[in-house]
């Protein structure tokens, strides 16, 4: 199967601090792939590299065969018209209504007549179940609704690649279920390719085709959801099942408990 995204030997550093170390990853066209890992392990940075918001220190990031590293602003914007990104909290434009948020890209990038834009926006809002909220302002929406409007906005120009940055953060269980189901359904309906960056393990494993597990800036394991669930790798096991102690210790490294309590040579 053809790969839509190919990441080859990518390293990335902020100043001298390495964030990503020799990442190799592929995302086949039409699939829903998740990148999981602890907060700060480099997941969002990787997403930004794919979107061209950051450039790798070394290595190659290709989307649909195009090397993202070398693109100038025009080239980057040309590629981004074929991509969509759902931000952690939606990032809706607070001065625009729900309708105008979804219509934003259509008005910016196309010369479609306003009545056609109206119909397209209604279709996108209908897909996320929020046709009735078209006149509301972002400040009037709940977290789950805002995420669904943002999803409708992402779909505005039918992107070939959709990136989701922590789409489930701060959502109640019902909203989380709705969003994850929408992500799955829309990926199939649009024939798009999706990358979900998240640490909500159980919700994500229900909907994705493949998972990359990251720790400390490197891919530590990868596999299908079933393979991840049954993994015996200590870190993956601790992460998937939310265990308190494991390779990632409960106690932050420091002096012994006894020493902190002033108990001399008593053992911790």
């Amino acid at each position: 199967m053809e790969n839509l995204v190919e990441i080859k030997d990518v390293n990335f550093s902020y100043d001298v601090r390495p964030v990503l170390k020799r990442i190799n990853m592929t995302v086949p066209r039409g699939k829903l792939v998740s990148i999981m890992g602890l907060s700060g392990c480099g997941k969002t940075t990787l997403l930004r590299l794919i979107g061209g918001a950051l450039r790798p220190t070394s290595g190659e990031v290709r989307v649909a065969g195009t090397l993202m590293n070398d693109l100038d602003q025009d080239g980057l914007y040309e590629m981004r018209r074929k991509m969509g990104m759902l931000f952690q909290f939606g990032a809706l434009f607070t001065d625009l209504s729900v309708f105008d948020n979804v219509a934003f890209q259509m008005r910016e990038h196309t010369d479609l007549p306003e009545d056609m834009i109206h119909d397209l926006v209604m279709m996108k809002l209908n897909a996320v179940g929020l046709r009735g909220a078209q006149h509301m302002m972002p400040s009037e929406l709940s977290g789950g609704m805002a995420r669904r409007v943002a999803l409708a906005r992402v779909l505005a120009l039918d992107p070939m690649l959709i990136m989701y940055d922590e789409p489930f953060t701060g959502l109640d269980p019902i909203s989380m279920g709705v969003i994850s189901e929408l992500i799955r359904q829309l990926n199939v309906a649009l024939g798009a390719t999706s990358i979900i960056v998240t640490h909500d393990v159980q919700e994500t494993l229900k909907i994705v085709d493949y998972v990359y597990f990251m720790s400390d800036g490197a891919v530590v394991t990868a596999g299908t959801p079933d393979e991840i669930r049954s993994s015996t790798a200590p870190f993956v096991h601790q992460f998937v099942w939310g265990e308190m102690d494991g390779p990632l210790p409960f106690h932050y490294p420091g002096s012994t408990y006894a020493a902190d309590l002033g108990l001399g040579d008593a053992r911790a």
Partner: protein, 274 residues
Amino acid sequence: MPPISAWETRVPERLASGLRGIGHRVVDGIWRLGYASRFFLLTLLRSTTAFRRFGLTVREIYFTGVLSLIIIIVSGLFVGMVLGLQGYETLQKYGSSEAVGTLVALSLTRELGPVVAALLFASRAGSAMTAEIGLMKATEQISAMEMMAVDPIARVIGPRFWGGVISMPLLAAMFSAVGVFGGYLITVVVIGVDAGAFWSQMQSAVDFRQDIMNGVIKSVVFGIAVTAIALFEGYDAPPTAEGVSGATTRTVVTSSLAILGLDFVLTAFMFTGI
């Protein structure tokens, strides 16, 4: 020879650390100045959207200009009334109380109109612009726009910049006009200075090019400075609550100092023939 104390042995280290601190600040300052200049240049280069889709700029003229009208009108009225009172008190000692109209008009068109209106503009519209852009950045709206292949400098910054630049001279003109009216109210209506003398002396003393146009040029320069500072501070604000509040404060302080500094330079060139 007395022994060297522990404090004395650390003097070179402290000196080096102090010098490093100063060096960092200087380098950071220069870097920030360069970044601000680049931002300003990019804003000018990508201004076509602000004119091609003039509706976006008109919207900003409404937010920065029309919504600032109340504070400008009220302040202009009071400044004009104070000028009238002070001017009358001083001029009547020399038997020239009819010249109060000239004093009020020249003070307002040359100095107080552009300067006070710009200071009010910086604190009302400038701070709002910084907070809005800073919050757009903090809530990832700017990043979202970039990911949608929409240039935020062209779409967000450009219309706001030109909206501010167009609004500023109009607000200054409004301030001066209302100020003259405030002076008229106090000196003619309340105190009883002859209305004919008030208006005719003003008309003969105020020169359109020398006084009014120079005042307009000043207000355009102040508009460019305040709007550019406000937008840059918002765009450069760290995406946190503290970052946005700090940027808003810097906008008001830096803009105010820039207005006063530029006023001195412009006055020196315009009115003293330097």
